[in-house]
Symmetry: C2
Subunit: 157 residues, 2 copies
Amino acid sequence: MKNEVEKLLINYKTLEQFKRFKEYGNQELSMMEDLQNNIVENNSESPFYGIYVGHHLIARMSLYKVSAKYDAYFKPPQDYLELWKLEVLPDYRGRHYGKALVDFAKSFQLPIKTNPRINSHGFWEKMGFQKAKYEMERDLGENPLIWMPEGVEEKEQ
Amino acid sequence: MKNEVEKLLINYKTLEQFKRFKEYGNQELSMMEDLQNNIVENNSESPFYGIYVGHHLIARMSLYKVSAKYDAYFKPPQDYLELWKLEVLPDYRGRHYGKALVDFAKSFQLPIKTNPRINSHGFWEKMGFQKAKYEMERDLGENPLIWMPEGVEEKEQ
């Protein structure tokens, strides 16, 4: 396999590999239950993208396209990507796998919003992300970061 | 001062004390800017509640009432409280200050939703919170926990 970003399919092998990521949570548990209960088919699409080195999944992220009608971040209001669970396994850090995933997300040429984990701001800044102006009723406990392709601006408050 | 939960007012002293909490972020920075620019008055209300020991703020949380029309968690749809940034300073942990804050939030007798930090599930379980059934389009990267007073149920999917 090549070190390229690929869309991950829901199956027992992928879900097993997910367990090595720190941000394993309700999302993965719910995918596992849906698979076990035949609510989703084996190898159905997931919102996850990942990078394999050999047969090992060593980096991943989730991407979801939010419809323009729910957009509270950009001007004009438009479809944007919510990016979460970006994570590279410890042994593979510092080799630009995180950047490869972010570049992949940017390639859709839609604005991107993410909620960074504590202490990850340096990374996101290098990726060209900026703090969204904080609005309590929208952001509550979040510290959203946004990235905008040419021609898109942040919504005014 | 007594060890009681009190509503925190926005002023330079409180904002300075906030810096000792790990989850200091955009919300606090934005409050500081609003104060400096006279967008909010000194001692205006904040969504934060806290506990003082002597003159030291040693625990805090944010609470915000979300209107029933945005409720995607409970049955019947109703006003609920979003709780975030619950945090007790390290030297004061294990003395039930966290529980005091959660009990205060429960005293409004509204359902509560929170997004726990990694490794805090044990605490929330003791507080009677349960995992909300994961819905990707609603929860994305979140692992929401909910608490319901008598007579309230989780929304069906």
